[in-house]
C-alpha cells in the first residue's frame, strides 16, 4: 500500500471507515424500502420516474390519435385534449427527466464516480425520494378528482389557468400546484446531497479536474436546479393563493362568464417572468447531465480519451451560468420592450458558443477513434445528431423576428421535442444500456436493445422532423382539431396521420425496452465487473453490483483522470483511475 499521509487531513475521507460511520440497514424494510443507501434510492427514483413517464407516453398517444385522425375518437373531447397536453408536458419535463437524471443517475453515479461510500446526508436523501413519491401521487390524483387534471398547458399561465372554463380549474390546478411545491421541497433535499457529496466526499486524488464529465454535468445541473426551482416555488405558491384566497398577484381585472371577477390589478407577465426564470435553466438542467453522460459513453465506446476535457468542463460551467440570463426569450410575444428582446436574443445566441464547443469536442473524440457500435454508442451518436438538429432550430427561434411568426406553431413543438425531449431521452437510454451491467450484474439483451434503438431513433425523427414543416405552414399548436383551414393543405393532414402512426410504433418500442429491463434482470448474460473496459471509478468496485458502502474495506485512491484509453505504451487498452503509475509500482506499491 502506498504510504499516503493524507489520513490526518480534514476534509479528505480516510482510507478506512469505521463501522460506526456508515449507515447500516437493520431489516428488510430499511434495506429495500426506507433505505438510506444512495443506490437503492436511485433505483426507487428511476422506477417511479419511468412509471409516471409511461403515463405521459400514453397521453402522447392519445394526443397523436386525435391530431392524426380528428373526429375519429369521440372519447377525446377538446377539454381532455388540453388536459393531456398539460399533463404530458409537466410529467415529461419535471417528474420524468429531472427526477431521472438527478435523482436516478445522480444518486447512483455520484458516490461511485467520486469514490465515496454513500451520499453525505443519507437520511435527507431518503426523505427526498419519499417526498418526490408523494408529489407524484398527488399529481396522479388529479386524474381522479372532479373536473380532472389542469388543462392550461404545462406553463400554467394565469389568468387562464385558474379561470372557470379552463379544464381542471376546480381541483386539478390546486393539486398540480401542491404537487409542484412538494416536488421542489423533495428535490432540494436531494440536491443538497448531490452538491455537497461532490464537494466533500471525493476520495483521495480525485481532484475536480479528474471527475468524469457525467459528474460535472450532474453537479452543475444540480446547482442550477437548486437556484432555479425556488422561482417555480414562488410562482406556484402565489398562483395557489390567487386561486384559493382570491389574492391578485397575477390576476388582472377581468370579466368571466359575464361577471366581473373578484380579482384586479395583477400581472400575468410577472408569472411569466417567474416561471421562465425557472423554465429556461430547466432546459439545461436536463441537458447538462445528458452532455456529461454522452461524453463518457463516447469516450468509452470509441476507446479514446475525451478531446478537450478542459473545454468540456468550462463549457458546462459557462452554459450553466448563461442559462440564467436568457429566460425572457420565451416571452418575445408578451409585449415586452424591444430592447429587452434584443438583449435576450443576444444572450440566447451566445449560449450557442459553448454548446457548439461541446458538439465539436464530441465529434473530435470520435475522430479516428476505435468506434464500437454498441447500443450505448448508438444512442450517443443519436443524441449528437438530434441535439444538433434541435439546437439549430433553436437559433431560428432565438431571433425575435423569426420567433414572432413561428411562435405557437408546431415548429416550436418540433424544436423543443428534438432538443429537450428526444435528445435527453437518448442520453437516458444510452446511460441505462451502459450502466445496467453495473447495477444488476447482467447485460441487457442485445437484439431487443438494437430493435429498441432503431425504432426509437428513426421513429422519433418520423414524428418530429415533418412537424417542422407543419409549423412553417403555420399550423398552430394546442389545437384539438384544426378543421378546414385555408392555409393548411390536405397533404398536411396526411402528414399528421403518418406522424401519429410513427408515434404509436415508437411508444410500442418503449414497452419492448421495459420488457428487456425486467427480462435481462433474470435471464441476461452475466456481465462481470467491467464489461465495457471503462476506466472510471464506478467500474472498479470490488463487487458487482456494488455492495453496501461501495468499496469494501478501503476507499480507492485515484491516480489519473477518467479517460486513459489506448494510452501509448500501456499494457491494456485502458488504465483504471485507481491504478498506480508505473513508478509507484516499481517501488513495491500496489493497489
Amino acid at each position: 500500500m502506498v504510504d499516503v499521509p493524507f489520513d490526518t487531513v480534514a476534509g479528505i475521507p480516510p482510507a478506512e471507515v469505521g463501522e460506526v460511520d456508515l449507515y447500516h440497514p437493520k431489516s428488510w424494510w430499511t434495506r429495500y424500502v426506507f433505505s438510506q443507501d444512495a443506490k437503492v434510492i436511485a433505483i426507487q427514483y428511476s422506477i417511479t420516474a419511468m412509471s409516471i413517464g409511461m403515463v405521459a407516453l400514453v397521453l402522447s398517444w392519445l394526443m397523436r390519435l386525435q391530431l392524426g385522425f380528428p373526429g375519429t375518437f369521440s372519447f377525446i373531447d377538446p377539454n381532455q385534449y388540453l388536459q393531456f397536453i398539460t399533463m404530458h408536458g409537466m410529467i415529461m419535463v419535471i417528474y420524468l427527466l429531472t427526477a431521472l437524471f438527478l435523482g436516478g443517475f445522480g444518486n447512483y453515479l455520484i458516490p461511485l464516480m467520486v469514490g465515496a461510500r454513500d451520499m453525505v446526508f443519507p437520511y435527507v436523501n431518503m426523505l427526498s425520494y419519499w417526498v418526490y413519491l408523494l408529489a407524484v401521487v398527488v399529481l396522479v390524483s388529479t386524474f381522479f378528482v372532479p373536473g380532472g387534471p389542469p388543462g392550461a398547458g404545462w406553463t400554467l399561465y394565469p389568468p387562464q389557468a385558474i379561470l372557470s372554463g379552463t379544464p381542471g380549474q376546480d381541483w386539478g390546478i390546486i393539486l398540480m400546484l401542491a404537487s409542484l411545491i412538494l416536488f421542489i421541497i423533495g428535490f432540494t433535499m436531494g440536491g443538497l446531497n448531490y452538491v455537497v457529496t461532490v464537494l466533500q466526499a471525493r476520495t483521495r486524488g480525485m481532484t475536480l479536474m479528474r471527475l468524469p464529465l457525467t459528474v460535472w454535468g450532474i453537479f452543475t445541473a444540480t446547482v442550477m436546479a437548486l437556484l432555479a426551482f425556488p422561482a417555480l416555488l414562488v410562482a406556484s405558491v402565489m398562483l395557489l393563493l390567487d386561486r384559493l384566497l382570491g389574492t391578485s398577484f397575477f390576476m388582472p381585472t377581468l370579466v368571466e362568464m359575464g361577471q366581473l371577477t373578484k380579482y384586479g390589478g395583477g400581472s400575468p407577465i410577472l408569472f411569466q417572468h417567474l416561471f421562465w426564470f425557472f423554465g429556461h435553466p430547466e432546459v439545461y438542467i436536463v441537458a447538462l447531465p445528458a452532455f456529461g453522460i454522452i461524453s463518457d459513453l463516447i469516450s468509452v465506446h470509441a476507446r479514446k480519451n475525451i478531446f478537450g476535457y478542459r473545454m468540456m468542463v468550462w463549457a458546462i460551467v459557462a452554459i450553466g451560468a448563461l442559462s440564467f440570463v436568457v429566460w425572457a426569450h420565451h416571452m418575445y410575444v408578451s409585449g415586452m420592450h424591444p430592447y429587452f428582446g434584443f438583449f435576450f436574443a443576444t444572450t440566447t445566441l451566445i449560449i450557442a458558443i459553448p454548446t457548439a464547443i461541446k458538439v465539436y469536442t464530441w465529434v473530435l473524440t470520435l475522430w479516428r477513434g476505435d468506434i464500437h457500435l454498441t447500443i450505448p454508442m448508438l444512442f450517443a451518436l443519436a443524441f449528437i445528431v438530434t441535439f444538433v438538429n434541435g439546437g439549430l432550430t433553436g437559433l431560428f427561434l432565438g431571433n425575435v423576428v423569426v420567433d414572432v411568426p413561428l411562435s405557437d406553431t408546431m415548429f416550436v413543438v418540433a424544436h423543443f421535442h428534438m432538443v429537450m425531449g428526444i435528445a435527453p431521452i437518448m442520453a437516458v437510454f444510452g446511460g441505462i444500456y451502459h450502466w445496467y451491467p453495473k447495477i444488476t450484474g447482467r447485460m441487457l439483451n442485445e437484439v431487443l436493445g438494437r430493435f429498441h434503438f432503431w425504432v426509437s431513433f428513426l421513429g422519433a425523427y418520423a414524428i418530429f422532423f415533418p412537424m417542422h414543416y407543419l409549423g412553417l405552414l403555420g399550423m398552430p399548436r394546442r389545437y384539438h382539431d384544426i378543421g378546414e383551414t385555408a392555409f393548411v393543405p390536405a397533404s398536411a393532414h396526411d402528414l399528421n396521420a403518418f406522424m401519429s402512426v410513427a408515434a404509436l410504433i415508437v411508444g410500442f418500442a418503449q414497452l419492448v425496452f421495459l420488457f428487456n429491463l425486467v427480462w435481462s434482470l433474470f435471464k441476461g448474460k452475466e456481465a462481470g465487473g467491467n464489461p465495457w473496459g471503462a476506466a472510471s471509478l464506478e467500474w472498479q468496485t470490488p463487487e458487482t453490483p456494488p455492495g453496501h458502502g461501495n468499496w469494501g474495506k478501503e476507499l480507492p485512491i485515484v491516480y489519473r483522470w477518467a479517460y486513459d484509453y489506448s494510452v501509448p505504451g500501456a499494457a491494456g487498452d485502458f488504465v483504471p483511475q485507481n491504478e498506480p503509475p508505473a513508478g509507484l509500482l516499481a517501488q513495491g506499491a500496489g493497489p
Binding site: V196, L208, P230, A231, M238, F277
Partner: protein
C-alpha cells in the same frame, strides 16, 4: 427581476472565486499520481454539515430574492396601496435580534466548553424566537382587525405571504434548535454538539438578516433603492 439578478450575480461571484481556486486550467491527461489534492493544501476544510448549510442558505436566499423581485414588480401597478406597518413589528424585530445574540452567546460558550452557558443560550434563543413568531401572529391579527385582509390589496397579500414564509423557515430552525438542545441535555460533552450549536447560530443570523431586508421592504425604507434597481434594468 433586479433583486434576483443581483443575488445570482453574488452567487456567481462566490462560485467563480471558488472555481478559480480549483486549478481548472490543469491538464489532467498529463498528471499522474496522487500529487494534486487541493483539500490537502488548504489545511482543514469546513465540516460537511457546514457546507451543506451554506448551500441550503443559498437556496433559501434565492427564494427570498425572488419574493422581493415579485414584490418590487407588483408594487408598481396602480392598485397598490401600502399598508400601515404595525408598531408591534419593531418589538418582534427586537425579539429576533435577541434570539440571534443568545445563539451567538451559546456558540461562544460552546467554544469555551461551558455547558451551562450553552443550555442557557439555546433556551433563551429559542424562547425569544417563539416570542417573535407569536408577535408576528399578533401583528397579523392587528392588521386583520383594522380591515387589512389578505386579499383586499396586493400589498396586504405580500405582507402576509412574505412574513409567513419567513416564519415557516424560523419554525424549521426551531426544530433543529430543539434537537440540538436535547442533544446538549443528554450528553455532557460540549465538543460533540459544538458544530450543531454553530449551525443553529449561523441559520439564525441569516434569518435575522433576511428579516431586516424584508422589514426595509415592507416599511418602504428601501423604496428608493428598489427604484434605482428598477431604472437600471429598464
Amino acid at each position: 427581476m433586479s433583486a434576483i439578478i443581483l443575488f445570482m450575480a453574488g452567487i456567481a461571484a462566490i462560485a467563480g472565486w471558488w472555481l478559480s481556486q480549483q486549478r481548472l486550467a490543469a491538464k489532467p491527461w498529463l498528471e499522474e499520481g496522487v500529487l494534486v489534492d487541493l483539500r490537502e493544501q488548504s489545511g482543514s476544510s469546513p465540516p460537511t454539515a457546514k457546507i451543506g448549510l451554506g448551500v441550503f442558505l443559498a437556496v433559501v436566499g434565492s427564494l427570498f430574492a425572488l419574493f422581493i423581485s415579485a414584490y418590487s414588480m407588483r408594487m408598481t401597478m396602480v392598485d397598490w396601496r401600502a399598508l400601515p406597518v404595525p408598531a408591534l413589528l419593531w418589538f418582534n424585530t427586537g425579539a429576533l435580534v435577541l434570539s440571534s445574540v443568545a445563539l451567538q452567546w451559546a456558540y461562544t460558550a460552546a467554544r469555551r466548553d461551558d455547558i451551562d452557558g450553552v443550555i442557557l443560550g439555546l433556551l433563551s434563543g429559542g424562547a425569544s424566537a417563539v416570542t417573535f413568531l407569536i408577535g408576528q401572529l399578533l401583528a397579523w391579527r392587528q392588521l386583520a382587525g383594522a380591515g387589512y385582509f389578505v386579499a383586499s390589496n396586493p400589498a396586504n397579500s405580500f405582507f402576509y405571504l412574505i412574513t409567513a414564509v419567513h416564519g415557516l423557515h424560523l419554525m424549521g430552525g426551531l426544530v433543529a434548535l430543539g434537537r440540538t438542545t436535547s442533544k446538549v441535555w443528554r450528553s455532557a460533552e460540549v465538543i460533540r454538539v459544538r458544530l450543531s450549536v454553530e449551525l443553529c447560530a449561523i441559520y439564525w443570523h441569516f434569518l435575522l438578516l433576511v428579516w431586516l431586508v424584508l422589514l426595509g421592504l415592507l416599511t418602504g425604507w428601501t423604496d428608493g433603492f428598489v427604484d434605482i434597481c428598477r431604472q437600471l434594468l429598464t
